[in-house]
Symmetry: C2
Subunit: 598 residues, 2 copies
Amino acid sequence: MPTYNPPLRDMQFVMHEVLNVVDELKEIPRHADVDTDTLNAVIEEGGKFASQVLQPLNLSGDTEGCVLDKTTHEVKTPTGFKDAYAQYVEGGWAALSCDPEYGGQGLPIVANQCVYEMLNSANQAWTMYPGLSHGAYEALHAHGTPEQKKKYLPKLTSGEWTGSMCLTEPHCGTDLGLLRSKAEPVGDGTYKITGNKIFISAGEHDMASNILHLVLARLPDAPKGSKGISLFLVPKFHVNDDESLGERNPVFCTGLEHKMGIHGNSTAQLSLEGAVGTLVGEPNKGLQAMFVMMNAARLGVGNQSLGLTEVAYQNALIYAKDRLQMRSLSGPKAKDQPADPIIVHPDVRKMLLTAKAYAEGGRAMSIYCAMLLDKALYHPDEKVRKDSDELVALLTPIVKAFLTDNGFAATNHAMQVFGGHGYIHETGMEQYVRDARINMIYEGTNTVQSLDLLGRKILGNQGATLKKFGKLIAALVQEEGVNEKMSEFINPLGYLADQMTKFTTEIGFKGFINPDEVGGASVDYLRVAGHLVFGYFFARMASVALKKQAEGSTDPFYTAKLQTARFYFARLFPETASLMRTARSGVANLLETDEALA
Amino acid sequence: MPTYNPPLRDMQFVMHEVLNVVDELKEIPRHADVDTDTLNAVIEEGGKFASQVLQPLNLSGDTEGCVLDKTTHEVKTPTGFKDAYAQYVEGGWAALSCDPEYGGQGLPIVANQCVYEMLNSANQAWTMYPGLSHGAYEALHAHGTPEQKKKYLPKLTSGEWTGSMCLTEPHCGTDLGLLRSKAEPVGDGTYKITGNKIFISAGEHDMASNILHLVLARLPDAPKGSKGISLFLVPKFHVNDDESLGERNPVFCTGLEHKMGIHGNSTAQLSLEGAVGTLVGEPNKGLQAMFVMMNAARLGVGNQSLGLTEVAYQNALIYAKDRLQMRSLSGPKAKDQPADPIIVHPDVRKMLLTAKAYAEGGRAMSIYCAMLLDKALYHPDEKVRKDSDELVALLTPIVKAFLTDNGFAATNHAMQVFGGHGYIHETGMEQYVRDARINMIYEGTNTVQSLDLLGRKILGNQGATLKKFGKLIAALVQEEGVNEKMSEFINPLGYLADQMTKFTTEIGFKGFINPDEVGGASVDYLRVAGHLVFGYFFARMASVALKKQAEGSTDPFYTAKLQTARFYFARLFPETASLMRTARSGVANLLETDEALA
């Protein structure tokens, strides 16, 4: 069975040495008191919960799965899940970064980001239950009426109740404009909702006493398409004025999906049979309200793959040092053993370092995004709020798609290090691959993310936000340009940043003439953008490590960081050369293929 | 549930229009009578068997899996597997390319290659049972004593009995030199074999009345390491002189692995408890004897992924035309529908075309290799036999690794086209991904293949065999160099062929100084070599298609082939640019990482 060791040192490095989050948070009144010790204590305790409580349930949860009782419509989660959730609520983890007005601890999102990475490493399927709840919390917090907030937010904050996102229907996922669920006004301000939803993660379970479903449906006479969709709050059990639970609402789980992975999470088919709900946000503007939840969820999905990347890497590393097989090509290394540990082989190291670099780059980028979210929400300067919001909007599709593509590659590499043993369920490595696979699909496929990035976030404002990020890179290049030790990192980064401007303009121009050109380039473009961001953070991390060494530090952590950055620029970053070439090849080689795809 | 339509037209195109196999076979006396109609009839019937008998058992076989009765040590295969196997034997499929001396039909390996591709498309897990048997047939045919051949080959040929390859032990897979199973001479020419084997595909099942295990073990006083391993034939049931089955031999299945995929195949843990066997080949030269089987198996594994690539592509194509979701970026295409079919989206096409190009390139390469095997075995000219043997030895690790890496990418793309529905078991798409994953591991991991290619097959003879393949490319470039319509295919191919020589020399030189440099470059090198081979075959196929069109053909098949070739060169082939860059980055960025991998 896999093990898990929370990467506290690397999180602390990113927070305190690279991003200086405590200083940044000091500018935000509600986080001004957050200090290094507090953040370190939170992640240390979070790491204990993840590794001691959740990790032991991951493999068994996969084996056991969820079970639906078709007569009661109740779902039993795998053994131990319910108890672990009770401990989670008891420990106050659900409330960590929630609003104190509703009982939250009010800690910055940066803290939550690190804790969630560890929960995901330990058990992605389990973590989806509180993860979806937190998304529901955010949507209600942003768009709920004062009555809804008062009635529901405290229990979502504490975690006593959970939430779900009910978007998908059998005939529509990406294209929510097609959805058919109906909401009929009852006349008392409530609505009766009827329809069938599928793929509802954490849609039914036995871990909390109530579930608050956020449901997309159409009002009578709503405009067609995506402009006629409204958002409703549909509780599993109605809530009485004294906060006790009332009648069961007819929103029933009618089936659970048999999936490739995340078996421990119940993926429910829900039948709404005149279930009573209340409107969240304005009529016909449900998608806007839901987008709050979806943006958070997209960063959350990237974080799931970051977690899997880290834990898969850790276990592959242990195995590579332990497994004796063949000799090094340059002569025996473990002469007293019958064979060398497989970590002597260059390609085994390449697979390990790929996973490690993806984890470390992803961690830096994700914590950076969390810090931007903290600023976007509560920084006193409006311009900082706006800039932060725009930057995180730009980075969100990259986090979602780049980190999940990387996570799939990384978990596959980690599994490959195990050879045939990686294919066996009991080692736990193939589960990481199966679990990681969904992250490339849900909350908007990675193709959809690439169109969001290139079409909306970049070309949609003539590259203005991209230029903001470009300025950060330019500043770093200028600062470090004369530092010879940094040249191996700064040169390729600066070169790609220069190319990126031209590359973007080119595609923008082609897309202006033929919009399909954007769709023909976007997936490759997103990966190039991902490397630009990773390159920026690896250069910053390398710069910090070099400074520490110059100051006399002999901590092997900094040597390790430099080795990983060097590997990253030499072995992963050059992928951009081919990606730019294929992205530039034009859409005709995809669209003029009717006979080939006949 | 997925469907499957045998790609007969494309197989016929490769065999008859590109490779002219009938003409090539005319030079081989035992195949001189094989004509186009015979080959077409064989693959047509094979396709029917695959699509009608095996395909319907694929998803159910995955769901049901194999069950071991721990008291009897007998394994029950999924419902329908045994009946399908009886039909397979009855239809004479097992005997297709076997030696007529032992009851075989004596058809060329080219025919078997096409049939096996289709069997693999329909049901990889099932196909492994006859596949392993055929490997055992080949090893016995090459290395068995006359008595062994007489006693066992007829039943292996007919398929009444099956075979297995018993190599792996818990502590050794790649490094067979470490194996511990022991063989004690009894004194009557037989041996008592004791040991534990794991990961034995088709190692125990209910589909045949007897199983012939080919077992690697050590004789007393055998030299240490890989030079002290001998090969033994250990039947599940002893065979009496009258060919009836005798006593049960103590080779027992003690467990079945729980695997990521290929659930329909029984992956057995075998305990040999003084099981009686006979020596195959010479003492201590078991690895050489087993290599016959392993080389065939490596081509067979590439063929498994080719099969999965094709069937996954077919189903994704159907879905992409059927699923309505969003509008084309360049305006609605299906105006009478609520949304466009997703095939209008450039990236969906890219995913489909990637799978299609990998299937078609893989098919051409695999049939070519089969033809080389036919020549290597029975061509009357010794030089042709030798050249063919060397060329297929060069191509074998490429087929194994390149086709299985491609197959994993292709099945993942096909699954991605299904969006969330691809993650659901019942659509069958995620099974293709899980099944395809093992192909990158077993019969020598893809890293091992890359070392075999670069270290042994290329640098081992100073690039002599590679030069032979290079001559084929040079001839094509010369022939087509003046044909303007071919320039989009020939130019990049010729350019890569030129670079390849320099690239190989460089690595060879670095490897001479530090052997680890070979291990640091080999995986990227193999993918470049794979594209060189695919590029060659796509150029040849494009050349044929252009000629047919010049002759007046309006068959959309040729238009399709040109579109696929164009896509291949524009979108997949350019990967070589990055691969050469990373391969050239040197092994230091992998090996000087002790702190990073601490």
